[in-house]
């Protein structure tokens, strides 16, 4: 069952972490690199806003998925690395929170300060690097789902239809469960 926090951020159930943990990281690394390349191609101003923050690595740590994404602005582009465990000395800062909160920050659905105020988001380390990344991403106006679809080429349309069907089903189930809970109270 999904849990709601004070900011109405959905948290993935524990089984997701259990399923993801034994999977190899290489396919995810390749997929995310491709996703990032597409984003940077369509939003070159993102890296421009990070000038002055070169080589300051920021770790994105979803609290409900056992995967860490390390981003590093370097030589006018962005380097991405996927890790399971973080060596604290290799990154300047960490941003931690539920996966949906982190995705919502990229998509512009959530406000980073508000998530921080509500304790849904935790930031540590080089706060300058964190703010620069947050502001650059927010300005870019990235549509993460659309970018992910773009990486699928000819398979984008059927995948999009399938994803929308699952999303509608999920929303209906979730709404139904909430109504049942409210009716029982």
């Amino acid at each position: 069952m999904l849990q709601r926090t004070s900011q109405h951020v959905l948290r993935l159930p524990g089984i997701v972490a259990w399923v993801v943990r034994p999977l190899p990281l290489l396919p995810l690394q390749v997929a995310l690199e491709r996703l990032l390349a597409g984003i940077l191609e369509r939003h070159p101003d993102l890296v421009d806003r990070l000038s002055g923050f070169e080589r300051r690595r920021v770790a994105i740590c979803p609290s409900d998925v056992p995967v860490i994404i390390v981003l590093e602005p370097r030589d006018g582009t962005m380097i991405l690395r996927v890790e399971r465990i973080l060596d604290g000395e290799t990154v300047a800062a960490r941003i931690c929170g539920p996966l949906f909160a982190l995705i919502g920050l990229v998509d512009g659905d959530y406000d980073g300060d508000a998530l921080f105020f509500s304790r849904d988001l935790i930031v540590e380390g080089d706060i300058e690097a964190v703010l620069a990344l947050r502001n650059a991403v927010d300005n870019a106006g990235v549509d993460l789902f659309g970018e992910a679809l773009a990486t699928l080429g000819p398979y984008a349309m059927p995948f999009s239809r399938a994803a929308q069907s699952i999303a509608h089903l999920w929303t209906a189930l979730h709404t139904n469960a909430r109504h049942n809970r409210e009716a029982a109270q």
Binding site: S6, G108, D109, D111, A114, F117, R119, A132, D138
Partner: protein, 333 residues
């Protein structure tokens, strides 16, 4: 967007990035205030603000939709080096900004002499709170609007507004500066960087957070300024909203982490003759801008239409997740 008539309160909204500016205008802002990507404005934060090209494109976007762009050049010029500030004023004029928001007397003088057609607004950073002070700025520099400091009550705002010729603008939402604005040296004392000259209050380069047994400890420079237990909402790492140990006890000495929400006072502000209301938060995201500007657009449209205000809580968007009427109701001081 709603057309502004002489009786309407103008909705002035923040934008730290071009995307935030477009979001604000699409959500119903009458005017947007923003700054260049340097120390000439009081939100000189990493990754924020506008290049000259971005400002030009943003002004075009705003003007095409009937909205105004006010460029904040509201820090005080560094002693002996007014060049960057004068350059910013020149560029704002060349880019056809609808107004510049200034605080420094020297810059006001420069703008008035060099660009007589450029509309001047007096920044809250000038801390002009009396009719005598504001009248001076009007007469000396031709200031057309003053942003009133957040230390006046509603009754005081009405008195000041009636006794001056220029327009008044008051803050209606967002973070509160509880010190005399433009004069506060707390952040400068702790970090060596001044909000009034460098444009950064509690600069990110000097902020750190540490987890400690479930609590969150925030530090600014060499000072631990707060400790939040796991069930407490967090605030910004500013000294004025930190907790202090004193001889009379321990706690918030100046102000708790809390934000202004003056929506219930909008009828009073309009009746007082205020021309514009301002939302704080150039450091905030598109999500904040969209939520807050939309809510205020709805409130102002309801006010103009004689309908009850459909006030929805914006507390989750605010520092400390708590809102206050600030000094407007006088209980604050």
């Amino acid at each position: 967007m709603t057309a502004i008539d002489a009786q309407s309160l103008e909705l002035v909204c923040p934008a730290g990035t071009p995307a935030a500016l477009r979001t604000a205008i699409d959500a119903g802002a009458d005017a947007v205030y923003c700054g260049f990507r340097d120390e000439t404005n009081a939100r000189n934060f990493p990754g924020l603000n506008f290049s000259r090209d971005e400002m030009r494109a943003s002004i075009d976007y705003a003007h095409a939709r009937g909205a105004k762009v006010l460029i904040a050049i509201n820090t005080f010029a560094r002693a002996g080096d007014p060049g960057p500030w004068r350059h910013a004023i020149d560029d704002a004029s060349a880019l056809a900004a609808d107004a510049v928001i200034l605080a420094d007397i020297g810059l006001l003088s420069y703008a008035a002499r060099t660009h007589p057609g450029l509309r001047l607004h007096l920044s809250v950073q000038a801390a002009a709170a009396s009719s005598a002070a504001i009248t001076y700025y009007e007469k000396a520099f031709g200031v057309k609007r003053v942003v009133l400091p957040r230390v006046l009550s509603l009754a005081e705002i009405a008195l000041v507004t009636r006794s001056i010729s220029c327009e008044t603008e008051t803050f209606a939402f967002g973070g509160l500066c509880v010190m005399t604005e433009g004069r506060c040296s707390l952040s400068s004392y702790a970090t060596g960087k001044s909000p009034n000259i460098n444009g950064v209050c509690s600069p990110a380069s000097h902020v750190s957070y540490r987890a400690d047994s479930g609590s969150l400890v925030s530090r600014l420079g060499d000072f631990t300024i707060n400790r939040f237990t796991p069930d407490q909402p967090v605030g910004y790492p500013t000294l004025c909203k930190g907790r202090f140990k004193t001889t009379v006890g321990e706690g918030y000495l100046f102000e708790e982490p809390v934000s202004l929400d003056a929506r219930p006072l909008l009828p009073g502000l309009k009746k007082a003759g205020v021309r514009a209301i301002k939302i704080e938060g150039r450091q905030r995201s598109r999500a904040y801008i969209k939520a807050v500007v939309s809510a205020f657009r709805e409130s102002l449209d309801a006010l103009n239409g004689g309908r009850p205000d459909p006030i929805d809580s914006l507390a989750l968007m605010t520092e400390g997740q708590t809102v206050t009427a600030g000094a407007y109701k006088k209980a604050w001081r």
